[in-house]
Symmetry: D2
Subunit: 354 residues, 4 copies
């Protein structure tokens, strides 16, 4: 007969708190909080890895069925709720004052959050590349076993990889003589042309030189058009200014532009949930930095880290910047190119197809 405590292995879980201050004969009341806070973080990291892993598995295929995206979205929203909850969890550990931490922090040396295998695995699983890291030697303090575990756990495709491939495989962007990115380019140019006409007209009325305003328009237009030109885009990739492939980027533009069509609703929300995930990972890092800086000031961390500055720098280590910045390239609905009826039809439900 299944029993609650056995099912949850509570003997193991609730027997896993071993304060170092006790072992050193100088019990510090607040060390229990420190331990349990970290253990619950790690338990939730396990859940996050479990969900992200299942999303990657579902997307890691040449053809991804629509209903798989809906499932991936649900799981990603769950992950986001967890990350939001974990960011809020810092409020609990912050009921410990720096003075109380001082009572046991020297016992913990050189153990450090830097050694969290799961966090390192998560970063890599999302798609954070070593070359984009602030600290290249971030695995140095791991044991050899953990170094190997990290390699094994992250030897497959990342979330970034599978999302990119799924986007590249998006059909619908072409039909007959309609090619989405060409139509979009025309729309962009038209929009900027209208802006130029307005500026010149206004300048004439106001007897001002329109040169500066026109130069700004030119710069904006170049920013837009860079997405559509293969050579310029390659340059951006090379310089590290963009990471997502051109084809995948154009697919995100397509999804965002026609997000109201039934078949694109879920993909659009899925892209948005990825942006959210990136945000909540940053939020967790941010709250972590705030907590560390209050606890240990500007001294080195318990694991010999250089502390505050390093952690602050990591906040910017975002994986899906290219999705976040997508909104820079959206056109107002009225200026977007109209989809041919044949494509629109293929984005409906059978039931409602015209």
């Amino acid at each position: 007969m299944l029993y609650y405590a056995d099912y949850l292995a509570l003997d193991a879980v609730l027997g896993a708190q071993h304060p170092e201050s006790d072992k050193h004969g100088a019990p510090a009341h607040d060390e229990m909080l420190f331990i349990i806070t970290h253990q619950t973080f790690e338990l939730w990291f396990k859940q996050v890895l479990f969900e992200v892993g299942s999303i990657i598995a579902k997307l890691n295929s040449e053809y991804v069925h629509e209903s798989e995206i809906a499932l991936c979205l649900s799981r990603l929203q769950r992950v986001n709720r967890i990350m939001e909850h974990l960011a809020a969890q810092f409020t609990i550990i912050e009921t410990m004052s720096p003075g109380e931490f001082m009572d046991f922090r020297h016992f913990l040396n050189p153990a450090s959050g830097f050694q969290s295998l799961q966090w390192r695995t998560l970063e890599r699983t999302l798609g954070l590349k070593d070359q984009r890291r602030v600290m290249k030697s971030y695995t140095e303090s791991l044991t050899d076993t953990h170094k190997r575990d990290l390699e094994t756990a992250t030897s497959g495709p990342t979330l970034f990889d599978v999302v990119e491939r799924w986007l590249e495989n998006l059909p619908f962007m072409q039909h007959g003589d309609f090619t989405f990115w060409e139509a979009y380019q025309v729309a962009v140019k038209n929009m900027f042309e209208r802006d130029r006409t307005d500026i010149r007209a206004l300048a004439e009325v106001e007897h001002r030189d329109p040169a500066e305003a026109l130069a700004q328009i030119d710069a904006s237009e170049r920013g837009f058009l860079a997405l559509f030109d293969e050579t310029t885009y390659s340059d951006l990739i090379e310089k590290g200014a963009r990471r997502l492939s051109q084809r995948a980027t154009l697919a995100t533009l397509f999804i965002a532009t026609y997000r109201s069509e039934p078949l694109l609703q879920t993909p659009y929300r899925f892209l948005d949930a990825i942006i959210e995930l990136d945000k909540f990972v940053s939020l967790w890092r941010f709250r972590h930095v705030m907590m560390v800086s209050r606890m240990i000031g500007m001294r080195v961390g318990t694991g010999g880290s250089s502390g505050h500055d390093y952690l602050t720098a990591t906040i910017k280590q975002r994986v899906f910047d290219d999705l976040t910045s997508l909104s820079s390239f959206l056109l107002p609905r009225i200026h977007a190119p109209q989809l041919p009826k044949e494509i629109v039809d293929r984005l409906q439900f059978v039931n409602e197809a015209r």
Copy 2:
């Protein structure tokens, strides 16, 4: 050399997830979330018990030094933050839909949250009495070992007990011919007398019969005065209408009335934090009921519980009602009796004593 994973016993903690659906050859993705949610709940319950236990230990003494109350307050505020966080945690498990739960709930039978030893211990440790419980047989589904563990863990004084005694021991309520509760009674009577005069005057002007309004005043006054009369108070205790001893109740009135005096500031906030704790325990129960009712509708729970109705009833099982209802008996500051200078002096810091 201490290592992060060893310090936190992560092998034990992260190796404690054993989905039943896997064992039955019908893996249900969402069971992992179910397990980890419950494990983090239990870990935090351990922390709550640890803090509440330390508060009881500090208060369990004939004389409690002022600075101990400050420490108890800090720890209670920490407990409250944890309970608030745990109530919010239901948001995560609620990302699992009833249909997804259906995929593995039958494997869990008859295990049930009813069997959480720590939750039962917490209820009792706060001071919830068996006779005030909705379900008297709440320990029935525990193993014999856990039944014994529960008795052992709760054989000492409860939070209610030590708070009551600390209040009963509060000095300052008498000095010379000033006795706080006598002065307060006079103030109460004066207040109601003023109310009666106002009512009669208004009735005359408006040519109305003041009888009903006066009867209401009488009833209110009786409610107040019941606190000060030993016999009436004993009756309230006997009927279960009040639980806190008369002396302790009068001390809470004293603390609340003179809460601005330096020595009473921390005791006042401590009483308030206890009210908060009671509230957050109720909030946890409430969110739990909501979650259960969505997950399993009106069927019996996995542990054979009658479910929704029972759980709803438990929300009212509050321990510190008498503190919450205290505000019914407060007087506006201007109507409260003035403290003799000798008592006021004893409520200051050495440094600022006149």
Copy 3:
């Protein structure tokens, strides 16, 4: 040129705080918090009404296009986030102690939260019927103008009404000789028959009388079958045990059972979001009760309400109980009847139709 403060009408909004305690020459610091808390509640109520109103408008039609449901879902999720946020907002007002409230509460008499026109409008707009209310005279303390405004604002269909109609209009439940509810009944009976066989077999092995267990199965089966029998269902409606029409109820069962089919994914999540809304409204009520009981104990509220008990009773005034209890009637996926290929086909996207 549009300016931030003009756009947001900040002169009006930030000039709308007029503490009564100031007017009475006895300024109470905490009254500002009291006012601003209520004003932000009311501002968010306006937003909630705006969103719910837009959802009703979209659903209030004979034929609701699939993509409208997706939009309604987004807006409902927004409403849920707002309600969750507002429940948490009580934490701020609870930084005011009962003693501090005592300093100005008498100035507010007889104004009361009972007089919130928007809250009353919201309750009715969701579909709370007067006959299901704890207090029938809930509009009594409104001004005549507000009584009229309430009637006008709630003269159209409620959220309950339009959701019910949308469900009743769900196609797909029949095709050829397949009728969903008949197939579901058969599946239910089969499931219970299997249970009976198991019980009898076990009883024989254990030499026990199976009568009691079998009686329980009979009762459970009757509960299920009541949904499918027109007469029994009418009785439930009449007794107030159910409120949603039989046809709509069967549609919810259909949606929940086949929730993985592309076309039903969004409807399923929409139903779930409605259950969430009901939950968060209850949560708001619950936090409100807790706050009121701490602030004024068991005395009458500032508006002459009977306070605690009344408010507690209102927590159960849920509108969509019938959806929440739906999970009682779900079958495990393997026992659910299989959909004919023709219906499955109509639940796909054009693009992926076989």
Copy 4:
């Protein structure tokens, strides 16, 4: 007779939503959310300014009574709860997608959050100096009236100013031949001397050169001792490395070191609450940046701001860094100098003085 809607001026508050998209004949559903989100932010900013203003008024005096600090602490904790709540509020506005914002953002030009008078007032009231700002021209887009209002509202002492003065006035640091900072310096030197002895002993055993480790100790010691030397400290001030006066800094060290003494408990928690405030202001900025970057990508903001980079830079504009970094200079309890009995006595309550 006071009526709810009149008391709260709901006609003004609920009549203050005027979507620009309506005026332009192109109603965008989500603009209402945009307006109400900003209005509730502004309402809460008013509350925050009200509380912070009252704290400054209480502390703006040569002698601050102990019980005033307790009141200031309560109010600061309230402010912190509000700021935490407002940071979470971004979750609501983030239910609006960039595409939906696109539908009305051009109507808002050139209005911008940069023009929030209250936020600018808050920054200055806390003590943010213009020379520490990322963008010096931050008031440029305010109207002349608002520029004047800002000057008027911030012409008095800042929170930083009054906290600094209160700290400088802390008595207790000297008695007879005991001077806290001299005793503390000795303790610091002793601690580092012990460290040096340990390092040399270990080096000998391990046949290693202790030079590098010893150099590190020297550097750490210099960091500590800089606080106690008037000339070095002046240099730090001049370079902008520290802002709080030396006397005030030493007082914070005193309070933190002897935080368990009754009279210092509340001051210690007050300092901690100020650190929290700085943290929550940063958290608000951070969430704001995340929201803006998702909404408008890397384009200029609606008010012509350079957007993302500027906002990111402002996150570091903290006012009370010197308090946050205090934990760098704390000694473990066992190494701290012992207070003379005469000072200890003056830190007790009359009631408990020996």
